[in-house]
């Protein structure tokens, strides 16, 4: 019986004008565009320098800032209000004000102050701009001190703790590498969670589901026949993902492919079960699509795709604990970038299996052949 049902499903998908194109175009679009857009890297900071001293020190500082590669000099003037206009016009991110007598005060061993004003509408950007500028100023200060205190007190041994940084798994700190495995999760969730559910509700609206309900087809088989094509599609899509990740981003999983396949299968089971539950309760196609869309949105936001789960407040972490996407995302990133294997990911495995069993049982029970 399953054989005939499957034949029907595959034929219908093939004939659908929209679906096959969606299945292949969507992952490609996401994987090719998203990683370039979705970056939290802060680059190209623009600075306005207000130099009221115009001395060799102030000019040296300015030079150092420009040559640092963090900042681009938008304007160099003597007017704070001009600089502020730049910020308002979004042309500049931070203002450095060097007061008059800057050089004189330093040479006379009286210390000097400078003012840093950062546009904090984007708090993170403002903070980082501030941090970079402060560290450049400190470096400038350190070399000044060395020049100005040649012999005097420098015999006192100032001991230093030297910090060596090492970055593992993503040496180049490439944000795209971080995003690509996560995006594959998102694509799978949308395709395998959304589409089978829509397929069932669509038959409900058309009325053809009645013919199935009146036939001896057991509901489990009917559901299975709806799901299996999308499982297959899910596996195809993830392979597309592998190819794109390698071809476009040079990204190859550090771990084993079979680990990924293993988890993918469990995950697809989970997410399609969830979609099914929603479709069983929805009263119309539009409603079903909308509810699933809404759930997906929230799940994606709480999955660690954009922002780390670790940074969330306790209550949000609790909510995220019930989010299957979170676990699969952790798995994908861990296997792709760190080379973790199934045993090391036992927590996620358990969670996903539990979800999968739970969702699918409810999906089958809540599907009614008779009312």
């Amino acid at each position: 019986m399953l054989k005939y049902l499957l034949r029907k499903e595959f034929r219908q998908i093939k004939r659908n004008a929209f679906l096959p194109r969606l299945i292949f175009a969507f992952p490609l679009m996401v994987l090719l565009v998203f990683p370039w857009a979705a970056s939290y890297e802060i680059k190209n900071l623009n600075i306005s320098i207000v130099d009221n001293d115009q001395s060799s020190f102030s000019k040296a500082l300015t030079q150092k800032i420009i040559s640092s590669n963090y900042f681009r000099l938008t304007d160099y003037s003597v007017s704070y209000s001009a600089a502020l206009k730049s910020i308002e016009a979004q042309k500049s991110d931070i203002i450095l004000q060097i007061p008059a007598n800057f050089e004189k005060n330093i040479i006379n061993a009286q210390g000097a102050k400078v003012m840093l004003s950062a546009n904090a509408v984007n708090g993170m950007k403002g903070g980082i701009a501030m941090t970079y500028l402060v560290s450049i100023i400190n470096e400038f200060n350190a070399s000044l001190i060395k020049d100005l205190m040649p012999l005097s007190k420098s015999t006192t041994n100032i001991s230093t703790i030297q910090i060596d940084q090492q970055y593992r798994f993503n040496q180049n700190l490439n944000y795209r590498v971080f995003m690509v495995p996560a995006l594959m999760v998102m694509i799978l969730s949308l395709l395998c969670g959304f589409l089978p559910a829509v397929s069932i509700v669509f038959e409900k609206e058309l009325g053809t589901i009645e013919q199935m309900n009146v036939s001896p087809v057991p509901k489990v088989l009917f559901i299975l026949a709806k799901l299996i094509p999308f499982w297959v599609i899910g596996l195809i899509v993830i392979n597309i993902g592998f190819v794109v990740a390698w071809a476009v981003y040079g990204l190859v999983p550090a771990g084993h492919f079979y680990t990924i396949y293993f988890f993918t299968i469990i995950y697809i089971l989970t997410v399609s079960g969830l979609g099914l539950i929603i479709s069983n309760f929805a009263q119309s196609l539009q409603q079903a699509m909308f509810i699933i869309f809404f759930f997906m949105l929230v799940f994606i936001m709480l999955s660690g795709l954009y922002t780390p789960i670790d940074s969330m407040p306790e209550w949000a972490k609790w909510v995220a604990a019930f989010n299957p996407l979170k676990y699969f995302m952790e798995v994908m990133r861990a296997v792709y970038l760190k080379g973790s294997d199934i045993l090391q990911l036992w927590k996620q495995l358990l969670a996903l299996i539990a979800f999968s069993i739970f969702f699918n049982i409810i999906a089958v029970i809540s599907y009614r052949k008779s009312s």
Binding site: K43, S117, A118, V121, G123, L144, L285, F294, M301
Partner: protein
């Protein structure tokens, strides 16, 4: 006019009957604001750290204590050898490993220099950079304390001021984004689905055959969603001001004007989409994919546009949300007036007119 009103009433009934969808539509902005406002941050806290100390001494102990005491970190484990480092990362036991040199305190005293290795799990590169930054700060502040306050007469002291958003609340950045997304969701997606549903069921023909002019049919369809958008707009503003403490620095009136303009653009978009397709599923998928995703990604809502490669930056100019979000930031957060958002208003007006013109034309074509 009376005809129009009775049609508008019918449209309202349609929508109100589907309580679940309405509930979600009204709930969505609230949930988004809560999530963005309180859950989605990149703050560093309680990051799990493992330490590898060949020989403990008073300096290493003090350093580890300081690190553990800070809210940023949680020292969870002491490992014995460098072989365990990789495993620690793979098991996700810690995101940062600190390796102290042998004879740390002694080396510091006699050689004047001792090394600490900061090994970070750079899976999330931004997080890794933050970790190293914060740990370095803790270590250098310890150093300062060790050295004692040696007044440096040649010190350049930076005085720091954060403009517009002194507490660096992340909310300032995303409230405009949430506004942009919710409004286009309701106006474009829901409107297009509603119109297409009418087409699918065949009742559209009945309406078109009625003595009411087509333009009124469309107006009637649009009105409920327009009302819903206004409700959501107010909800978001109220939540932002009172719950997230993001004040409206500029004029509320200006904000309303630009929002109305944006809503028109979004409604026109919905109209256009409805002329492109015959099936609800297609309408939803088009608005979902062609609208939501570009809006979320490329409008500047979450990810800054300046970071994107040039082609994407150019493409983002086509997205209405981008202009709206930029205008809202200027008015709401930076408190600027009309003159600052002239560019945005012109672009949005142009988009609105073009879209409406195209949709009306397509609509007329379908009738013939």
């Amino acid at each position: 006019m009376k005809q129009l009103l009775s049609f508008v009433r019918k449209e309202f009934y349609h929508i109100l009957r589907d309580k679940t969808t309405i509930l979600i539509l009204l709930l969505m902005p609230i949930i988004q604001i809560i999530l963005f406002g309180f859950a989605l941050t990149t703050e560093v806290k309680d990051t799990r750290v493992a330490v590898l100390i060949p020989q403990s001494d008073e300096i290493t102990t003090k350093l580890v204590e300081r690190i553990h005491a800070s809210s940023y970190f949680d020292v969870v484990n002491t490992i014995q050898s460098s072989y365990e480092i990789q495993k620690t990362f793979r098991d996700s036991q810690a995101k940062l490993v600190l390796v102290f040199e042998n004879d740390f305190a002694a080396k510091l005293k006699h050689d004047g220099i001792a090394h600490i290795q900061l090994i970070a799990d750079a899976t999330d590169p931004n997080a890794a950079t933050s970790f190293t930054f914060y740990v370095s700060n803790i270590i250098s502040s310890y150093q300062q304390d060790m050295i004692g306050t040696m007044k440096n007469p040649y010190q350049i002291t930076p005085e720091v001021k954060m403009l517009y958003n002194p507490q660096m609340i992340g909310a300032f950045n995303f409230v405009p984004g949430v506004l942009g997304m919710i409004l286009i969701l309701i106006c474009a997606m829901m409107t297009s689905i509603a119109i297409v549903r009418e087409k699918e069921k065949g009742t559209m023909e009945i309406l078109l055959v009625s003595p009411m002019r087509p333009i009124y049919t469309i107006l009637a369809k649009i009105t409920p969603y327009f009302v819903l958008s206004c409700i959501n707009f107010l909800t978001i503003i109220i939540l932002s001001v009172f719950v997230l403490k993001v004040p409206i620095a500029g004029s509320f009136f200006t904000l309303v004007i630009i929002s109305m303009l944006y809503i028109f653009v979004a409604l026109a978009l919905g109209l256009l989409i409805s002329t492109l397709t015959e099936s609800q599923v297609a309408a939803m998928l088009i608005s979902g994919m062609a609208l939501m995703i570009p809006v979320m990604l490329l409008s500047g809502m979450i990810f800054p546009i300046e970071n994107m490669p040039l082609p994407l930056q150019i493409f983002s100019n086509v997205i209405p949300a981008r202009w709206y979000i930029s205008a809202v930031k200027l008015v709401m957060i930076q408190g600027l007036g009309f003159s600052a958002i002239i560019k945005e208003m012109l672009v949005l007006s142009f988009m609105a007119i073009t879209l409406i013109a195209i949709s009306l034309k397509k609509f007329k074509v379908r009738l013939e």
